[in-house]
Symmetry: C2
Subunit: 387 residues, 2 copies
C-alpha cells in the first residue's frame, strides 16, 4: 500500500426533504450568496422555489446566475466572478449537477485571484484562497459535490481541463434522492456511467496489496450495477435512487483510491471527445472504457481478472486470464447497452477525422494514466479501438 | 435508507515514516501541547523519541502526561485538565491507542468546562467547546483516532461511559503500520476483535435497503478476516498491517453506518464486563458478540443470513435460515479462536456472580440496541448464554 493522506471535510446532508433546510445551513456561512444553476429544469421541478423559500426564510439574500450548460464554459465563470466582485459576495450556492458545481468552484477560485482563472486549469498554478461553496445536488454523476476538483471548458480551444485542490471541497452538500425522479433517461444512464468510471479509474491501479480499497471499490460497483437498472425501470424508486446517489458520492470523495495510484487516462481520453462533440461525459466514458481496457489490460492482468470475477461474477474455473478478462469487458459492454448507452464512437456519430488532434491534446502534459503510461500514439490507437 | 448526516473532518496521514512529520503538522495548531501517552512501550520502541524530536524541530513546546491504562480512568483525565489549565495549553497530542486518545478527548472536553467533565459521560449534557487534539496511533483497534467518541471509566463506580460529539474529531491522525510491529499478540487479537465489532455493530441493523453500506461493511470485514491472521503469523508484515490499520480506521469513522440504525448493544454489554474484570475490551467483545447474535438473530434473520453467506462464504444451498445463521456464528467463533481469543466468560475466568448488577447497569438509560431492544432481563440472558 502506498503512503497517502486522506481528508474530506464536506458535510453531507442526505435524504427525503433535506434540501428544505439549505437556507439554515447556508446562513452558517453567509448572509448573501450567488445562487448558481443551469437551465429551466430546477424551475419546472419546484427545486428552485424550495431553495429560494428556504434561503429567504433563513434571511439569506442572493443574486442569481443561471445558464450553466453541460461541459461548463469559462465565459459564464468569468461572468460569475464579475458578479461576485460587484456584489461583494463570498459564498456560492450551486443547485444542480456536476457542471453547475464545477462552474461554482471555478468562480470561487477566480474571485480572489487577480489573474485569469483559466490559469488554474491550463497551468500548474494552484489557487491560494477561494470563496466557500455549498451544494444542492440534482444529478448523481460527477461526484463534484464533495470532491476537490472542477473541470471547465474554455470555448476558445475548445479545451477541457481540470483543477484540483483541497480548497475546492464544498462546505456542505444536500443529497435528496427525490430530486432525481424527474431526470431524463439519457441523463440517468450517462450519470451512472460516470459514477462507475470514477470507481474504475481508482480500481484499475498498478498496485498490489490494496485489499481494502479493492473491496470498497467492488462494493460500490456492485451496488451501482444492481440499482441503476432499477431506477431506469421505475424513476420514482426512492430506495434504488438513494443507493445510486450515495454511491455516486462515495465513488468520488477520494476514499476509494487511498493507498493506490489512480489511473484517470480514460477521463482524459474522453474529455477530448466531449470538448469537441456534443456528447455527455458519462456517455463518452461508456465508449472509451472498454476500448481502454482492451488496450491496457496486459500491463497488469491480475486486476482485470479480479474485476471480471468479483464485480461481474465471471466463472473463472478452467479459463485463461485472457478469456476471463475478455468476458469481464464483454459484461461491462453488455451493462452499458442494457442502460441505453452505446459503446462505439460510430454509434455516437463520431468519425476518425479528429483522432490525431484529440490524441495530441490528451497527452499535452506528457503521458496519461498509471496502469500503463499512454503516449499520444497509444491514445490514438485507443480511439481507433473505440471506433 | 434512513436520512442521515455524514461529516468527518479528521486528516489521516498514513504510511511508512509518516509520524516523523508530527511536529510540522502540530505546529499548524499550537506552539505548546500536552503530550499524552500510556506506559513505557512508546519509550522502548523509540516512538516517544521520534515524536519528541519532531516536536522540538518544529518548535513545539510540550508538557508530558503519561500513565494512561486500558479502560482510561477519570482521575488521570482530571489531572490532565489541571495541567492544561495551569500551563495554558490548548492542544493535546495523543500518542498511543484508543485509551490514550479517549483520555485526551476527555481532557480536551474538560479544560474549558466549569463543571465536572464526568457530566458529559454520565448525563445528556454535551460539550459546547473543546480543545483540539492530534493523534499518533500505535494500536489499530478502537478507531478513536478519527471518531467522534470517547469512553472513560470512573473508578468510583466503577462506571464505563461514553460521550459523542462532532467536537471530538481529532484534527489529524498519523497512522504508520510499522508502529504495530512490536505489539504483543493479545493486543493484536483483541484489537482485531474490536475493529470487527465496530463493523458488526453497524452491519446488524434492522433496516433493509442499505445496499451500499452493507457491501462496504462486508468489504471491511473480509479485509480484516484475511489480514489479521497474517500479522499474527508475521508481526513485521507491512502490507497486512497496513490493511488492518486502514480497516480499523474506516471501520469507525461513521461512514459504514450511514443510512441505517447502528446497534451497539454488544458494546454496552461488554463495557460492564471490562469495567469490573481485568479483560481487554476487544477480548470481551469476542465473548459477547456470538452470544448476542444467538439471542437476537430471530428479530431480523435476513441480515444474519447475509452475514453468513457474504462474509463467511457459508454455502446456503438447500439450508434453512436457522442452519445458515448457526453456521455463520460458528464460523465467527472459529475465527476468534484462531486468533487466540476465548469465546466464553468461563474461559476468561469470569463467573455469573455479577450478572444481575451488570445487566441493570447496562440498561441504566433504558434498553440497549436497535435490531432488538434489550431490557436488563434480556441482557442477563445474554450473559448466561456467554457463560
Amino acid at each position: 500500500m502506498n503512503n497517502f493522506t486522506w481528508f474530506n471535510p464536506t458535510k453531507i446532508i442526505f435524504g427525503k426533504d433535506t434540501h428544505k433546510e439549505v437556507g439554515k445551513e447556508t446562513a452558517n456561512y453567509a448572509k448573501k450568496v450567488l445562487l448558481h444553476y443551469g437551465g429551466k429544469s430546477i424551475k419546472e421541478t419546484g427545486t428552485y422555489d424550495t431553495v429560494v423559500t428556504s434561503l429567504t426564510e433563513a434571511g439569506v439574500d442572493f443574486v442569481e446566475l443561471g445558464g450553466v450548460r453541460p461541459n461548463p464554459r469559462l465565459s459564464l465563470v468569468q461572468e460569475g466572478i464579475k458578479i461576485c466582485r460587484q456584489e461583494g459576495i463570498d459564498f456560492i450556492l450551486a443547485v444542480g449537477g456536476g457542471s453547475v458545481i464545477d462552474s461554482a468552484k471555478a468562480i470561487a477560485a477566480g474571485v480572489p485571484y487577480e489573474g485569469n482563472v483559466w490559469d488554474f486549469y491550463s497551468t500548474e498554478k494552484q489557487p491560494q484562497e477561494m470563496l466557500s461553496i455549498g451544494v444542492v445536488l440534482t444529478i448523481p454523476a460527477a461526484g463534484s459535490e464533495s470532491s476537490d476538483g472542477s473541470v471547465i471548458t474554455n470555448e476558445e480551444g475548445p479545451d477541457k481541463r481540470s483543477c484540483c485542490t483541497d480548497l475546492m471541497f464544498p462546505k456542505f452538500a444536500f443529497l435528496n434522492p427525490e430530486l432525481c425522479y424527474t431526470l431524463p433517461e439519457n441523463q440517468i444512464s450517462a450519470g451512472g456511467a460516470d459514477i462507475l468510471a470514477h470507481i474504475m479509474e481508482r480500481y484499475f491501479a498498478p498496485n498490489k496489496n490494496t485489499d481494502l480499497s479493492d473491496r470498497l471499490c467492488e462494493a460500490a460497483m456492485k451496488t451501482l450495477l444492481y440499482n441503476l437498472p432499477l431506477v431506469l425501470k421505475d424513476h420514482r424508486d426512492y430506495n434504488a435512487w438513494a443507493e445510486v446517489m450515495w454511491t455516486g458520492n462515495v465513488a468520488h470523495t477520494g476514499l476509494l483510491g487511498r493507498g493506490r495510484q489512480d489511473d484517470w487516462a480514460s477521463h482524459g481520453i474522453e474529455h477530448e471527445i466531449s470538448a469537441i462533440y456534443d456528447i455527455a461525459h458519462g456517455a463518452g466514458l461508456a465508449i472509451v472504457f472498454p476500448a481502454w481496457m482492451k488496450y491496457v489490460n496486459d500491463a497488469h492482468p491480475f486486476r482485470f481478472v479480479q474485476f471480471a470475477e468479483r464485480v461481474f461474477d465471471v466463472d473463472i474455473v478452467g479459463k485463461s486470464d485472457k478469456t476471463i478478462i475478455e468476458e469481464g469487458i464483454a459484461k461491462l459492454e453488455t451493462f452499458y447497452k442494457s442502460i441505453g448507452l452505446v459503446t462505439t464512437l460510430r454509434e455516437a456519430h463520431i468519425d476518425n477525422s479528429n483522432f490525431e488532434l484529440m490524441s495530441k491534446k490528451a497527452a499535452i502534459n506528457g503521458t496519461l494514466g498509471s496502469i500503463k503510461q499512454l503516449t499520444s500514439k497509444d491514445i490514438q490507437l485507443i480511439y481507433e479501438l473505440a471506433l
